[in-house]
Symmetry: C2
Subunit: 416 residues, 2 copies
């Protein structure tokens, strides 16, 4: 019997209607059952993961990919703990805000509701299956999980455990379902099912996100790259600036909220850049500097035209000296990927201007770009990051998986 994408999606849609009506207590009970299931059924998940690992080794996946693919008893306990953390987050669904009374006596407010059905498209990280499943369940959404071929056995095993827990709790197991075949044609079909799917969230490299965006008839959360800037103003506290620079670039260089570009006001360049040069050299950071900055670095290369649009994802940094604040803003507006920008300044008015002038998803004053993360910003958990402004912008938590309807409470009023 062949697999029907549209029937698969239709079942998820039907489940979403039940999910939208569950109380928070019912959803939390299901999440606890899922966490217990992951703990108790480690053997079946690890056996499935061993199949994926063997195939991965045979296929010649590199060590980093194999490590992302690997599940261990310890990692499964962490996964179960993460599911319990999602259960502990407040449920956004059902919140009513701004319930006000109109002149004719009708009450009008906004009530938060689930989106419906979310499709997650991701690569070879089996933990996304549990994480995304838990976040969608807590926010009352059905989820269709389409992971990479490399993690398929693991994902199906985790989903089987989750579905068993849903069944135990009287919830339609189609609420969390894994596409059982990672065929690309089926993915293309999936991206056409706009009558059943409300939102597509791709998680992975730029290629995956472009592929999904280009082919989807459904709205897609877009997050291509993070070219995060630190602008060290003439009125910066240079010790703070140095700490922000090092933390932003070196604490974890391979992630999207790491710094890629340092902009320095020319008035403090001769004070700051020598310190920065020494500290960056000590951390083996490759520097690509503008002509004006180059002389401060012992081993920097001259930045070429592409440098300021490059997301290094490694210990490398672009450096530019700017004549004034306005030039820094213009540089950021031209080269920003809309992710995170930081100003380091002690001047009140300059800080206020920056907050208004820069409209990236996260705008910071005197704080490390590495805080640009759902957990650090207090969302509790993160299902993705959006660098396009529609629907969600920046790190996405539970609220980003919901929308608001209007609620009107009357007593028989009609329009005249």
């Amino acid at each position: 019997m062949s697999f029907s994408v549209s029937e698969f999606c239709q079942r998820a849609k039907a489940a979403s209607l039940q999910l939208a009506r569950l109380t928070e207590a019912e959803k939390n009970a299901a999440l606890e059952a899922i966490a217990q299931g992951i703990e108790e059924q480690q053997a079946s998940i690890l056996a499935a993961n061993a199949l994926d690992m063997a195939a991965g080794r045979e296929k010649g996946l590199d060590d980093a990919m194999l490590d992302r693919l690997l599940l261990t008893p310890e990692r499964l306990l962490k996964l179960a703990a993460a599911v319990r953390q999602v259960a502990a987050l407040p449920d956004p669904v059902g919140q009513i805000r701004d319930l006000t009374t109109r002149p004719n006596g009708i009450q009008v407010g906004r009530m938060r509701i689930p989106l419906g059905v979310i499709a997650m498209i991701y690569e070879a990280r089996p933990n996304v299956t549990a994480d995304a499943g838990a976040l969608c369940l807590k926010s009352g959404n059905a989820v269709i999980l389409r992971g990479g071929r490399e993690a398929l056995h693991s994902s199906l095993a985790i989903a089987a455990v989750m579905q068993q827990a849903l069944r135990q709790q009287g919830i339609d197991p189609a609420a969390i379902s894994v596409v059982p075949d990672p065929d690309r044609d089926l993915l293309l079909q999936l991206l056409q099912q706009k009558q059943y799917i409300d939102l597509v969230i791709p998680r992975g490299g730029e290629g995956l996100i472009h592929f999904v965006s280009d082919h989807s008839k459904i709205p897609v959360i877009q997050h291509y790259k993070g070219i995060c800037h630190l602008y060290v103003d003439k009125d910066a506290d240079l010790d703070k600036a140095l700490a922000l620079l090092l933390n932003g670039k070196t604490q974890r260089p391979g992630v999207c909220n790491a710094l890629e570009t340092l902009l320095v006001h020319q008035q403090i360049a001769e004070h700051f850049l020598p310190k920065a040069a020494a500290a960056l050299a000590a951390q083996q950071v490759d520097v690509f500097a503008c002509a004006q900055s180059l002389g401060f670095f012992a081993a920097a290369q001259l930045a070429d035209a592409q440098q300021f649009d490059t997301e290094y994802l490694r210990l490398a940094l672009s450096v530019k000296t700017v004549p004034d604040y306005a030039a820094a803003i213009m540089h950021i507006q031209r080269h920003s990927s809309g992710h995170t920008e930081v100003i380091c300044t002690q001047d009140y008015s300059t800080a206020q201007r920056f907050i208004r002038d820069i409209n990236s998803a996260v705008v910071m004053v005197n704080a490390s770009s590495r805080f640009s993360d759902g957990g650090e910003l207090g969302l509790g958990a993160e299902i993705g990051i959006s660098t396009s402004k529609l629907h969600a912008y920046g790190p996405m938590g539970l609220e980003s998986l919901t929308t608001e309807k209007y609620l009107v409470l009357g007593d028989g009023q009609v329009r005249s």
Copy 2:
């Protein structure tokens, strides 16, 4: 010299950066200058409108279309007044909510910002040019207006007045620009400019919206149709129910928030349907009824399979008797267009269930569907209605033209 869509959009994008930084006072001054311009330069706008009217008559446009196209001195005064009403609305931009302090001392909040550049695609209503221009300006967005060929002279004349007012106020006139050529190929090019345009809002018939959605690389606000339901529960106050039915169906039948379907609980059908039948007959409403309801109407036709998916936009109504509350919900979930649904009931628990069970954009208890409108719901003005859940859902006011960025205020904190 040929017209370049991408340069046109690039200019709007550049203007959007200036607009995003304007204070509310500066935007209000520009709106007042626009309103005065419309009042003082009536002659040039009316002369341009006369060209459109003459061409429309020659082309054989029907009376309704010609009426929508027509501008008069009185209509221009109303247009200027509408611009002043937009100026009087509170500015959502710059609002900061939920600024809380994290354990490490950084403050994290959300700050409302403009979307950037909005493209409005509409048909032959020249007033949309001024309305949409004013709403986008107030919310700090640049707008690209692409109206129908029939209203082109009028739209360009109105835009010229608006741009002159912007220039007077030191604002880049590209903040409000009309595509000078309604060629369909240029529209297709416009819908590809995702590096410059953040949101597309089509206003018009279902054909226009499908065309725009199918061809756009940019997110599109979708509003296909309004199949609004009134469910008269067994515990309804039948006088209220009758008032809601008549107001919903007959007060203005040609609009999307008019009722298309009446669902009646079978327990009160024999009490309610005879009254409904008499009242509907008195208003010359054509009734398409299910087999069980049919006998209560003197002149109804039996509803066929398509009837319950039809947006009549005229004095016609589908009627169905349902065995219980659950059947009403199932019917609505199956046939709803996601616009507006109303329950009429005096039972507290049933009202509470309905509020949770139905997730259309507007959910009402004991109020007329005709209130489903930005003005009636207190938004002040409406730029469109969304029946898809992403970004905006239901009537869209100024807030729907904005998004929120994260704001992080630190004192040198780094991540450990």
